[in-house]
């Protein structure tokens, strides 16, 4: 038997099932779990105890990685309400938003031709971050008032920012390499 794999992550960490999570409480509870369950605490013990410790720690690690990340937490909350989505096949149907995303992608692509790519990249990163945090607080409100359709749409939109941020990071790495 594992730590009960059906156990709700929020329940495990003693948190209420809401998007807004006190990261400090989360982190300190996480450390308490690790202190009690980590394989390093079972070095001299039987193979069996070590094996179970690995499984328990892995479960706590998984729960923590979901709860501390905004997008993963949003996805998980929707799943709890049976409103899960498939990130690979579903997308937002908001035409205006999609247009804006296409523009954003073009702006990322055009960074190479900017007179000062580094500064332009920073500017873009800043803009994206703000749009992203607006979406995050929108999701929080929508989910809290039980509007799952709207919340799901916001989560789908958040996915775009994950991709944009990754693209910016890749660009940044290329810029770093060019500086060598």
């Amino acid at each position: 038997m594992n730590i009960d794999p059906t156990r709700n992550y929020f329940e495990l960490f003693g948190l209420s099932e809401s998007f807004d999570v006190d990261q400090e409480v989360l982190a300190s509870k996480y450390r308490a779990f690790q202190s009690a369950l980590h394989p390093d605490r079972f070095t001299g013990k039987s193979d069996q105890e070590q094996r179970i410790s690995v499984q328990h720690t892995a479960f706590v690690n998984e729960a923590y990685s979901v709860l501390k990340n905004d997008l993963k937490r949003a996805h998980y909350l929707l799943g709890l309400q049976d409103a899960e989505f498939d990130a690979d096949t579903e997308t937002s149907r908001d035409a205006e938003f999609l247009m804006q995303q296409m523009e954003s992608h073009e702006r990322v692509a055009e960074l190479d031709h900017a007179p000062d790519p580094g500064a332009a990249l920073e500017q873009l990163a800043c803009e994206f971050k703000q749009q992203q945090s607006e979406l995050i607080s929108r999701f929080s409100t929508e989910y809290a008032r039980g509007d799952l359709d709207a919340a799901k749409d916001s989560a789908l939109k958040l996915q775009f920012y994950e991709r944009l941020t990754n693209q910016l990071r890749e660009k940044q790495e290329k810029l770093d390499e060019q500086l060598l």
Binding site: I3, Q34, D40, G44, S46, Q48, Q55, T57, A58
Partner: protein, 626 residues
């Protein structure tokens, strides 16, 4: 006068046993062993008072195997049998050697696939066996110094080591007869050495530039917990590259080509190394070199010229630092401490570049050659249970993403890099053909999308899948990475509940049976020895199991077990105790399995109670002490 020890009622009557433990830094160029003695972690010197053991092994016909300085001295006159820097080929395949061979003047056995073998006068050897020779010397040194057998060791590896390289290191330890408590990342070990001394809190960067590898790790220290936020680096970048750059410069200045003359090349490399070392404290240095009757080289190398030669490498390390900081989500200015590890960080120009990036002078008050072994010794001491009051805990991450091969040679990611370990992830697969009963899963490690751009780790052959129509079987494959960063795989068909059996074929490493065979071979001329060793090993594990169970039962049997359950455990326990008295290692082994089976529920109940207690917000200390 000796005082009588009287224990509290209900407590163990056995006095707290101090278990001997050591930390080992198995380096590319040098290795060290350290241990905590009287509360202080320190590196252990050999009989001559030298701490550092050069990671050099020489195989001879007459004198057996030589390790360390005595082997290094012969490197020039016996280059092909004197093996240095084998860490660079740990966990590497024959195919990988093409990119490395130019730098390693050994004769590899001509072979197809598998673990590369180096030809020596004493026969072919693998890097695993060479490393185990180094470990054996360190083990003997520690056991002589500490006066007893080691209960276990912590061995450090570069944070960036992949699964194959970690497994190879563990196999080498097994061959050397060492019980490995934990493989610990070198930067984490360094942070432990500094963190415990200073009670440092906040974000720490560990910049580790050794002989053959470069690592950068970003860690967060909070109340005794070390969390690795991200890690990056290059397993083929280090001080050896500087030596080669200087060597190339020497040859170019002298208008010479070393060609296939291994002896001459060794001389040039040695001259390059000593030039590099003298430039640590001087602005310029003389290089003098003679070879045969024809060659006489006299050159002057300035610090400026040296910096020009090595700057491309240092800039590469700085780019890695930026990348790794970004992955941790940390700005360079947020870093509270920068720790320097590795002999190459003594080079002034390296320190300058690091200081520039982080805007603060890096810490180096612990000898950068010894800091890793020192930290490993502290962790080993804690894992051995010698400092029960310590709440230090190290949380490490997976250095490289794990994935499986899918259609079209593409990689499907299972676990992303920088995920905290241990980690368990399940993925479902289905059959392609009607009646299919077997399936092959190819696991790779790396960040690229195509299979050929990642490192192949192993293929797992699943057999015993119940025959069904194509697509009907749902095989749930579970990938588990343990606290050492090592992968294991299990599989189950979901509708029938049948466990598929998994056979692992490591792409580059040794299979378990090959390691067993090597162990047996090393005892080939002493069969009794082998039996005695197996018996001793089983007795040690039996005692460990019995002791752990005894203290757990004393505390919790009444609370967690019914009388009937207690009786079942008691019986299995008595059987194991009886088996221990006998001389049959196989019987002991079976009795251990039986006892573990009998106490499974008990162990799980205890663990679940721990979970509940944390959930209810009890302080950890209340139930942690066993």
């Amino acid at each position: 006068m000796a005082l009588l020890q009287i224990s509290e009622p209900g407590q163990s009557t056995a006095p707290h046993e101090h278990r001997l433990a050591a930390g080992i830094d198995l380096g590319t160029t040098n290795s060290l062993v350290a241990s905590v003695r009287s509360g202080v972690a320190e590196t252990l010197p050999d009989a001559e008072g030298t701490d550092i053991l050069p990671s050099v092994v020489r195989y001879t016909l007459e004198d057996g195997v030589m390790v360390g300085a005595c082997a290094l001295e012969q490197a020039t006159c016996d280059p092909l049998n004197t093996l240095a820097s084998v860490k660079r080929i740990m966990g590497r395949s024959v195919d990988d050697l093409a990119t490395l061979q130019g730098y390693l003047p050994y004769q590899f056995v001509d072979q197809e696939g598998g673990v590369p073998q180096i030809q020596t006068v004493a026969g072919p050897v693998t890097s695993i066996e060479v490393s185990s020779e180094i470990l054996k010397v360190l083990r003997t040194r520690a056991e002589l110094t500490l006066g007893g057998e080691l209960a276990g060791v912590v061995i450090t590896v570069p944070a960036y080591f992949d699964d194959a390289q970690r497994q190879a290191t563990k196999d080498a330890a097994k061959l050397a007869g060492l019980n490995v408590f934990r493989l610990l990342n070198e930067p984490t070990a360094a942070a432990v050495a500094y963190g415990l001394d200073r009670q440092a809190e906040g974000v720490t960067a560990v910049y580790d530039l050794g002989g053959g590898t470069f690592d950068i790790s970003i860690l967060r220290l909070t109340k005794g917990v070390f969390e690795v936020l991200s890690t990056g680096g290059d397993t083929a970048l280090g001080g050896d590259d500087f030596d080669r750059e200087i060597s190339a410069w020497i040859l170019q200045q002298a208008g010479l080509d070393a060609g296939q003359d291994h002896q001459f090349m060794r001389k040039v490399l040695q001259a390059a190394r000593s030039a590099k070392e003298s430039l640590t404290n001087a602005d310029e240095t003389e290089i003098r070199l003679e070879h045969g009757d024809q060659i006489r080289i006299e050159l002057r190398l300035t610090g400026e010229q040296f910096e020009r030669l090595i700057t491309p490498y240092i800039k590469k390390t700085i780019a890695w630092c930026r990348k790794t900081l970004r992955e941790a989500g940390v700005e360079p200015s947020e870093v509270r401490h920068v720790i320097m590890v590795g002999g190459s960080t003594r080079i002034p120009c390296v320190r300058r570049h690091v200081e520039e990036l982080f805007g603060q002078p890096p810490l180096s008050d612990i000898d950068p050659d010894k800091v890793v072994a020192t930290g490993a010794a502290q962790q080993a001491d804690i894992l051995a249970g010698n400092s029960p009051g310590s709440d230090m805990l190290l949380l490490d991450v997976l250095p490289l993403s794990l994935g499986v091969e899918t259609m079209g040679n593409l990689v499907s990611r299972i676990v992303e890099r920088n995920t905290v370990i241990p980690v368990v992830r399940a993925q479902e697969f289905t059959t392609f053909k009607d009646g299919q009963t077997a399936m092959r899963i190819h696991v790779v490690q790396g960040e690229r999308e195509k299979v050929e751009d990642c490192r192949s780790l192993a293929t797992f052959d699943l057999t015993g899948i119940p025959p069904m129509v194509a697509g009907a079987a749902h095989i749930r494959v579970t990938f588990q990475v343990d606290a050492d960063g090592l992968l294991s795989v299990s599989a189950q068909e979901k509708t029938s509940g049948v466990s598929a059996s998994v056979e692992v074929k490591p792409s580059y490493g040794l299979t378990d049976s090959e390691v067993e065979k090597m162990l047996k071979d090393s005892f080939e001329h002493a069969k009794d020895d082998m039996h005695a060793k197996q018996l001793a090993e089983q007795q040690v594990s039996a005692r460990r199991v019995l002791e752990a169970l005894r203290s757990a039962l004393e505390k919790d049997a009444d609370e967690l077990l019914s009388a009937q359950e207690q009786q079942a455990i008691g019986q299995a326990r008595a059987e194991l105790e009886d088996a221990c008295e006998g001389g049959d290692s196989e019987q002991i082994k079976q009795a251990i399995v039986k006892l573990e089976h009998a106490s499974e529920t008990f162990v799980e109940r205890r663990m679940n109670r721990s979970v509940r207690q944390v959930m209810r917000g009890h302080r950890v200390e209340e139930f942690e002490q066993d």
